[in-house]
């Protein structure tokens, strides 16, 4: 009877296409929005992931995210180092400073100052030059992605991307581009410039508190959670693992920017509208078929077989809609990602889409079965339709 069920389903092309399209649209909306949301989330903590090497990030307890400039006193470094279980600890400066580009334009930049001696906390990948080039006079590293976009040089009337050897002023300190690095796209957009910790301090206006973060490594065999707790007790500062710091950052940005609520609403609306529309379409389709189901019941199709037929019909449009919808989301996502938009589909997201479609199918299937199963086969003798 699966054959009969499918022929009943596909007989009316227009309705069949409409059903599949409705479900595909629901799947597309849910997976596409979820992927963009996931893309944003991923970018929010990209810098933390890109900064390898350390087990713990120590910072002011009121720090809300990676670019939140709440500083701590530099004696914290010594106190962290003296906590049992800490293998090493290095300072890191991070702050917004204003840069004057060679063409006279002002540009806010994020300066990251990494430990002079160990160079821990540097960018994930060098494109031109080496990390050690930071030891050179007035050296800074710039991001490949900013060249030609935010970091532009005008030379005898023509504009060209900044390159190694160019000079710029950061907070009235002349610096020189010594290398180019690459990192993953971030939620924040100001150019990030790496230099050494001591040079960063010279650029930044003098303050009593200078440090942004202390990066610490836990001694092999020591319990990271316990060491973090000991650091918190000894310094009164916050000590997070990279993942914890990532979550602090993501939650804060999601709530503050309304990204969570906005995407939440969009995804929920897509979900609800998709479910409602396609469940309704499926349901009306089933109701239109009720005379046919009634005749089949009279002719000896058991309720069990009717359930199977409806399941075949619903799962057929469901899987087609899911495939088309998620396929469209993947293709569309490829285009979005090329346009540098945050789109990141992980394997869990199609599962969400599948869940949405499954709910559509279940709702529509159960609603229509409730009608079709209660159908008296005797209706087949009621007048012509």
């Amino acid at each position: 009877m699966n054959f009969v069920a499918l022929r009943m389903l596909m007989g009316d092309r227009l309705k069949y296409v409409g059903l599949v399209a409705g479900l595909a649209f629901a799947a597309l909306l849910v997976t596409q929005q979820a992927s963009i949301f996931n893309g944003y989330i991923h970018r929010m903590a990209a810098w933390i992931r890109d900064t390898g090497g350390a087990d713990l990030w120590i910072m002011d307890p009121q720090t809300n995210h990676t670019d939140d400039a709440k500083r701590i006193v530099d004696t914290a470094l010594q106190r962290v180092r003296s906590v049992d279980g800490v293998e090493w600890a290095v300072p890191m400066f991070k702050g917004f400073l204003s840069a004057r580009l060679p063409d006279g334009r002002l540009q806010q930049v994020r300066v990251v100052g990494i430990d002079d001696a160990t160079m821990i906390g540097g960018p994930p990948r060098m494109v031109e030059g080496e990390l050690a080039d930071l030891r050179g006079d007035r050296a800074v590293l710039v991001n490949e992605a900013d060249l030609g976009k935010k970091l532009i040089v005008s030379e005898s009337g023509a504009r060209r991307p900044m390159r190694v050897g160019d000079r710029l002023d950061i907070n009235d300190n002349e610096v020189r581009v010594a290398g180019v690095y690459a990192k993953g796209p971030e939620f924040f957009w100001e150019p990030m410039v790496y230099t050494t910790y001591s040079r960063a301090l010279r650029m930044a206006p003098a303050q009593r508190k200078q440090l942004q973060f202390v990066l610490a490594k836990v001694r092999p065999g020591a319990d990271t959670a316990k060491v973090a707790a000991d650091i918190r007790a000894a310094t009164g500062l916050a000590a997070y693992t990279g993942d914890e710091f990532a979550w602090v950052t993501m939650w804060y940005i999601m709530i503050q920017t309304g990204i969570l609520v906005n995407f939440g609403i969009t995804i929920a609306l897509g979900f609800v509208i998709g479910v409602l529309v396609s469940a309704l379409l499926l349901y009306t389709f089933m109701i239109e078929q009720s005379r046919n189901f009634g005749a089949l019941k009279a002719m000896g199709v058991t309720n069990r077989a009717i359930v199977r037929m409806v399941a075949v019909q619903v799962l057929t449009v469901g899987s087609l809609g899911f495939g088309i919808g998620v396929g469209a989301a993947v293709i569309g996502g490829g285009v979005l990602a090329k346009a540098d938009l945050a789109f990141r589909m992980v394997w869990q997201i199609p599962l969400i889409g599948a869940g949405a479609i499954l709910i559509c199918c279940l709702v529509a299937g159960i609603l229509s079965l409730a009608r079709v199963l209660r159908l008296e086969p005797a209706i087949v003798f009621k007048g012509a339709t």
Binding site: M1, R7, G300, V301, T302, F381, A384
Partner: protein, 248 residues
Amino acid sequence: MSTVNLAAGQPTADTRSAAVRCRAVTKSYGKGDTMVTALRGVDLDIAKGELMMLVGPSGCGKTTLISVIAGILDRDGGECSVFDNDFAGMSQRRKTLWRGQNVGFVFQAFNLLPTLTAAENVAVPLMILGQSRHAAVKKARDTLAMVGLGDRTHSLPSQLSGGQQQRVAIARALIHEPKLIVCDEPTSALDHETGHIIMRLLKNVALSQERALVIVTHDARIFGFADRIAKMDDGHIEKIVTSPKDLE
């Protein structure tokens, strides 16, 4: 016809050859103020090999009676056995399976599945009984040829005339060789001539010694095809006659 019984209320004594045997069957719809009693104690015997017509004014209970006989409606009281089978006490599922084996339906509105071809429609009862589509459709083509539609096996119902659709429906009611065929107003949607073609098919092809046919109709022009005619009024069998002339 060994056990034709002419008088209502005096059913035949020979129950072995009875296809349908109803005694004091009652049925009402709804409850309380809105209750409608459709059958008020129906006694009716139909013999094997017999074509029985049910006639009577609108609302007298004809459709209700054949629904009870065909096992798609539960009676409230009385006795009713169909080929020695009693639906009372059978589960819904067993009733459904029994219908699939033993009953063929012809509906006034044809009730063909609009998206299946003629052959596929005719094949449905065999597929319900678990036959493969291939085997079922193959047999359906032969059955369609029997009703004179061997050349229209691939047509959709919408591409067929009313008379042709009803012939497809008859083929569908025959293909699984059921013991009982019930028809509700099989000719009322058809013109006179087509109605006669349909009735000839039912009489000559559908009827056999092991099978009984019950046909509900208003259509006086086809009364002549009946072996007996049961005239109903207000939930009773008023009289059973062998000749249409005796109806008045």
